[in-house]
Amino acid sequence: MSAATQTAMLPATIVQRPDGRVGQLSQFYGLYTRELVRTFRNPFVIVITLVQPFMWLAFFGGIFSTLPTSELDSFLLHAPPGTGYVAFLLPGVLSTGMLSIGMFGAMSTIQDKRFGFMKRILITPTSKATVYLSKALGSATRGLVQIPVMVAAALAFGVDLRGSPLGWAAAIVGLVLLGFGFSALFLAITAGSTDWQTPGVVANFITMPLMFASGAMFPTTIYPGWMKAIAEVNPVGYSADLARSVITYGQFTGSCVTDLGVLALFAALMMGIGTVLASKYLKVE
């Protein structure tokens, strides 16, 4: 090796600030760039970020775009009888609250994968399906914590809760089925992922449309046709209807039984599909 090439291989002189001070701009720039690079390397995150504002416009704006103001007026001021909007909203909020509880199960699953605990589990005679089902039921159970909190808040707002004990039991069973179904869906979607960001993104993606395209926040009678169609098959609406009949109106009717049936079907379907997917795609690490 000649002297010239040896010199060329030496690292260039490091240029430091002539005044000898230590700045922070370069560090800030480096860290900021890292944040962006990490975020935008996950195509899922980009797509959802771009789609999110349009979904707000479509789903939230869709409710009010065709609505005569007089109807909104009469709903907000006069319905439901005597108890006001909070009484109408409570069952809806309890139901929509069940939408994103799967997020915590998904996050704990990703944590288990990242720290190798999934290996510790799967090296024992434990099947992937068992891991999946225990996480889904764990999420759904955790979701129940919000029920007493929300009910206490409603009471504080002066809402008159009327349901019979049997009705309440039915409403809670409905919420558990809904929560279990969505946890199962959530964990199936994230079974193959090891990225911390994924559960949050999935939560955003499924929560918003299903929250508005249901009878949870507003009566579906004021919705445009396409949103009514989504609400027809949206399990959140069935859970909200069931809880509303029982808690707000104090009636346990035939439609409540239908609601429970639909929710049970939803939970069973999600559990079945999710178990198959997780058995196949649940990542070990």
Partner: protein, 329 residues
Amino acid sequence: MTANGLAISAKGLTKQYGKLVAVDHVDLSVPHGTIFGLLGPNGAGKTTIIKLLTGLSDITEGTATVAGYDVRRDPMHVKQRVGWVAAEVILDDDLSGWENLWLQAKLQDLTDWKERANQLLRYFELTDRRKDKVGAYSTGMRKKMEIALALLHQPEVIFMDEPTIGLDANVRRMLWELITGVNRQFGVTVLLTSHYIEEADYLCDHVAIIDRGKFVATGTPSELKSRVREDYIELETSEGVTSAKLEAVLGVTNVRQQGSAWVLRVTSAEEVLPRLFQALRTDGIRRINVEKPSLESVFIDITGKKIDQAGSDVQDYRKFYVNMRRARR
């Protein structure tokens, strides 16, 4: 106990990830009650072999039997009979030692486990700390806890992946004693991976040297070492010596100059040294160094390269360790 007396046997074991062949037609037989070492550099396929033998990863080709059960056909029965100790110590830090044992008992579907758990806690001197969260344990205690978990269901075979990586010399020594103790007292077959030559030499009854997914040599440590029969003598003298003078000594087969020193390959250091002292008595020997065959020299002999720059590796693992523990808090 299986009929053929083997705790682990594999034929043509192969794992392919896309185009990469991580494990390439490996044959393996490990007798009951022995300690078997997979020795090789990082990325040689050691961990992949453990994953294949425990059913964590699907076998692409070949067969494997562990504790009497076919890994492909009957992975659940294999999993009931094996324990596993991870390189990076995997415990649930939010749970206490006892709770970790409880969870392990549940995952292994054990009923009468408490007496054995208490015995293991006593054996590993963890009884006093059993109610503390394992996140607060020292590194050595965490490692012991992990081995206790692996032993809880009385496995026939324990897999230990780089059991002492990232540990300081004292903890490593302690762990060596524990591993031999566990092997003898609990009658467990141990398959461990390592890239520390001394570790494999000290612990293992049998060693397979693995490089790029293939077994390049197998045998007992002394069998392997006897493959490289010649010793090396390195010496420096104060007076100038010619290579011809060194070559003339009986038993010297090769002479090479390395800086100011001479490196001699000799048939046997014990026989050649007296002759060498005699030949060089007027040349003033300043320094002399004898190197006997080691697993390291076997590896160099077979693959033409050193097994690893283990030092730099350890530092990386230390960092990894620290980060893992921080992330968990």
